[in-house]
Amino acid sequence: MAALCGSKIVVFGRNVASFSSVLQKFAGPAVSLVCTTQTRSMSRVKRRHTQPPFWLPKTTRTRYPENLTSENEAFVSEVIADQYSSPLKSDPWERGVWNEKSLRCGVIAKKIGIYPLWTKDGTRLLTTLLQVSDNHVIKYIPPEELIEHRVKKRKREFGALIIGSDSADPRMVTKEYFNMFSDSGVLPKKKLSKFLITPNAKLAPGTPLYASHFRPGYYVDIAGVTIDRGFQGVMKRWGFKGMPASHGVTKSHRRGGNIGSGGEKARVLPGQKMPGHMGRERRILIGLKIWRINTHHNVLWVQGPAVPGSTGSYVYIYDSLISSRKHTAENPPPFPTSFQDEQEVEEELYDQDLHVFSHPSIS
């Protein structure tokens, strides 16, 4: 059940303003900035945590041998299936209209692999396959409620949507965690995430999200946890060049060499690059193009092999915040999401520049 332990709620949406940009606001444009202070103090910040924060509900519970008869067990499975066979009966929420400043929610996907695709002019590109499996909206937090817990001041009014992915067995979770899902009418989820949205993008709890939330040709930002590489030396971790294999080098072929500057600064400066734990950190990759979507299996083909994480790990995908890649009035996104249950979507969607395998060869 360690996978459920990792279902911490992480905030997405706006990028956190960096220390240097905050400094710029106070100091003014005339002051030139030396960013050494930022780098050197950020290296002391703890980036990896073994346990989720104390204020999150515990997900796992101690299981005891219940010695149930098989009939009873079958009965309970039937009850659970009945309970969750249909969504909650409630009035549908009104659907907002997209405008230039709207921000809609993202999805949680699982990385399933990498394979090559080709464009219409024959260029080969590697694409990462991401499966949007079993996503549902769990809760909507209106702006008034969000402001109570706000960490930083924001000029624009934001609400939040909590999205969950991959259903878990309700018998395996704690009561507290289970109660979080009572309003949404879905099975408890293994992975949760919070996405900041503008209030017009709100969705009712229990709304399913599919891969058709995006379309080929859209640009997305993807956040995930990188592969855990363990304790690594300075050459792999920081890209140091090491020293020659021969010509008299004594026992220092992959070491860091000198670590001080000497003179007045007679100490090792904070942030000195040294061996240590590498990987298992949160990274965001921005401006990745979606090349292809399969709506039957809910799979996205996204540009590049560099999506953080190994095969089977979760990533969080949302509309790109890069100004040149945002949605415009000419190509608005399906807002607040694409309601695939109501309207027909083709099974395979391709970007216009992509070569489809069932089409003839390029000549």
């Binding site: 360690a2 996978a3 149930l68 080709w118 018998r171 293994k190 855990d228 060869s361 390029i362």
Partner: protein, 298 residues
Amino acid sequence: MMAGLARMRILSLTRQLASLGLGGRRHTGSSAVPAKVLPYRKTRGDDDDVNMQQIPDDFRVVFPEFLPDPKPEWRNRLREKLERQDMLARRAVMAIPEFYVGSIMGVTVADPNASGKINRFVGICIQRGGTGLRAWFILRNVIDHQGIEILYEMYSPLINNIEVLRLEKRLDDELLYLRDALPEYSTFPLDMDPELIQEGAPVPVNHLKVQLKPRPWHERWERKNLQGLLDLGLPERFYKRAKLHEKPWEKFDLMKEYRATIPEEEQADIFREISPHYEQLEASRRRAKRRRTKIIRS
């Protein structure tokens, strides 16, 4: 009330969710703990023996790229299924014939810089590899006394046509030693006609032994256990050193073989998945015409 009680009651675990990978923290370091082997989930419950018999013997050899990379960290059944669908879609448009290392093939590619926008290259296949859509092979030829090798991605849409001019196998799995061989062993005419073979006949094996140029070579060929080479004519010390580097225990290493292969049950599943298209693939493999002339090979 009943449903509510049922919900609250603590019950024993079910086997379905246990296999969905809920356990285990991520390993720190790549080689600290052996790689986790994914559990095999049967797609069909019954008649396993019948399925095993239904795989044609040569399926693994003729279509090796349909079997995925065995490395468990990279495996995902859905992605492999989507990849196979794409491979079949591509094969429906452009037939990829059966070939082996040692076969002479002609490949036509779309080339924007060539006159007529098309470029044809003929050569002997010296190596093939890759799985899925990344499958590739290398063709070698000697043109104007210059040895040329070209790596072709089998599923690239730029390839217009792949034809096998002479279907045969050699004594080795890889013919990289042709780089150090006399040029006549790698020279093939660019306008070679396809040599036809009888349908259903076994793939002929060419027992040609190649003569190498004098040393230096690209590799230590004496250490590679190659069958397709004439006597190398090296001093005894080379062979003594080669014996020190031998690993005779590797053929007994069952785990190594296990890690490098896809289990037979999964191969049966894969074959079952592509079996509707198998007749179509088979038809494009070999020519149905009879062998007209007997070709004498040197």
